[in-house]
Amino acid sequence: MIAKVRRVVQILFLLFFLFLFLIARYPYTGHTEADLFLRFSPLIPLFDFIQNFSVSWVFWPALIILALTPFLGRFFCGWICPLGTTIDAASKVLGSPSNRTSQKWDRLRYLKFAILTGTVLLALFSVHVWGYFDPLSIFNRALTVVLYPFATLLVDSTLLTATRVPFLEDAAYFLYDPFKAFIMPETQAHHQGFFWILVLLALILGLEKVSRRFWCRNLCPAGAWLGFLSQFRLFERLVGEACPVCNKCQTECKMNAIPGGDVQHTSKVECIDCFNCGAVCPPKIKAITYRWRWKPYHTPVDYSRRQLVQTSVASVAALGLLNLGLPNRDTRDRQVRPPGALPEDQFADKCIRCLECVRICKSNGACLQPDSIHTRVEELWLPVAVMREGYCEYNCNLCGLVCPTDAIVPMTLEQKQHTPMGLAHFDKNLCIPFAQNSDCIVCEEHCPTPDKAIKFDIKEFVTKDGVKKPVKYPYVIKELCIGCGICETKCPLPGHAGVYVTIANQKRAGTTTVPEQASPYG
């Protein structure tokens, strides 16, 4: 019974999270905060505390979960976590082996504690990489880059193909119109770095072939953190006298939280409150019941002192290694961050790589993309504006509004319109007027500032036939340019644009000055 309730709750939470994902688009009212579900992450308050030594109420969903966990256990993993639910679905599809065969992998359980300890240690040294492992970030990343675009691609092309079949046309459009209105109002999303996010998702789901909830058992730092907290459980599984020790509960346990040969016990660290044990207990016997009981006992975590020392050493090593790459200014040149992003180091620390900004940008100018590694590992999946494929919409400030950690500081539209992300530069070797002495100025036409940041000179050009013709040669006015990049997006050249945006003149949130020319000495 309770297992059925749990399943319904799981699906409801998944639908709720999907709903929040779908409303993260233009028009965005903000009445329902689309980033709310990212703030369910139990890891957020922990790392926020390490960073600021204070508890922020913005993360109230996570704080409620953390407050209840010591007494209820890892209910978040079993009932709420959308990644967990997706993994359960994958398990159904792939057919996971029973614990009899998969329990040999339980020696990897320490890994999740190692990942948690490692990320905490790095965070203490102000290197925040935990976002890569956060289950809600992973889920949102997968949704943004892989699952949602794939779904829209399938539905969109299927319905459009169906419209070409005469007798299906009406039915197809009947489905297509609401689909375009509510599910996919924007054009098809495409992302750089798609492949690796797909591989990681496939890996997490594919590991269900090795054991059920492989990710949750062995790797998830949020699971480790909640398991570590859930020492005072009030709601207990009791096994009655009638138990014939059929071991069904043990072999069917999603987390293998019931030790083999000792069905009386439950590992509080591993149990995710799925209540499958009660459901699989043979109906004639029904030896398993659940009771409220205050009788604390200790469940040791699968993490030895030796492993702790190893993790610590590895973390210190990682700390050094993460900073050894050459910080080449050349590669930083095009790393234009969203408007209102904190200064780069702080930004990398606060950003959890959930890509919610990338998601909402898709229904606007669509410039934001997950970044790749240029010089430092931490650059991976930070939002970066790829302006050849999209631009920052002048009247849009939504990325800051949906950032769950305020790594992109929310700004009013007015503020955003006066915060340069970068600066446009003309590449005179490519730009049509300079390279071909022929009119174009599509860039100037699209420039959105009330006083155009791109202006042009009209100069006379003498053609090879000796004919004089006036040509409009564009140039940028630094004081007016906000680096929105629509010039780069709309440049009609087939490949490289004749105008492009760099980080020059960018103004990061919380800074009062715009860095003029970056000094080579830091």
Partner: protein, 299 residues
Amino acid sequence: MHRRDFLRTAGSGALGTAFLASSFESMLAGPASPHVVWVENGEPAQLLAAAFKEFGGIQHFISRGDVVVVKPNMGWDRAPQFAANTNPDLAAAVVRECLNAGAKVVKVFDRTCNNPLRCYTNSQVEARTREAGADVSQIRENKFVTKSINGEIIKEWPIYRDYLEADKVINLPIAKHHSLCRVTLGLKNLMGVMGGNRGDIHNMFTQKLIDIDRTILPTLTIIDAYRILTANGPVGGNLAHVKTPRTLIMSPCTVSADYTALNLFGLTLDDVDVVKEAAKRGLQKYDIRSLNVKKVRLA
């Protein structure tokens, strides 16, 4: 001949006949019917009604059962007061007039420059024309068909199917400053039904635009000059650049309408290559040097 080719030829033949018929009709209407009507000093709906009256009512252009396309400019993510998009009240009034004249359906769309959802919403054209009963839809990439142009430079170009298949087309631009072609009016507004990489058109702009326009001229051009944008166009964004002549210009000939609208900006034919080229290439229905322009000033 393949069946499809036959249908295409037959279709274009029918269209051509329709064009001939309509110009023949206007000739029959005699000197009473002006070439261009210029109405000023009124609200959008009043301006529109007054202009149609000069042509003897909208029935002169729209027949019962017509599928009508109204093509406003809603290419930019700007509110109406910035004069970057066609006045939403005027667009709604046009839709209402068409439906009153018995149009079967009035379709409204534009291929935008900024994000299409934002443009449709913030120009307010979508909401107002839908209210008026129009079928407003976003551009669908699968609806562009390659049209043979056979122009001086452009040989073929994708054009929106709904536009090509419409019985009547009302071109509804706003009069704006434009840096490349000085001003943007009816001829330039037709770019909103062109697919492909429109940036490509901007190099050798005049010839290319006229190449394509030549093949897709509308039934009627109504230039919205209720507000006009005098600088920083076509995007605008500065209210100081917006003037309010409260004017409307209507003509079955796009070139004549555009030519007349140059007066709004104090420009001559030599200032605006697009109109000049169009006249040179014979896109006009009337001789623009001897236009019969009817001026109406509302009380």
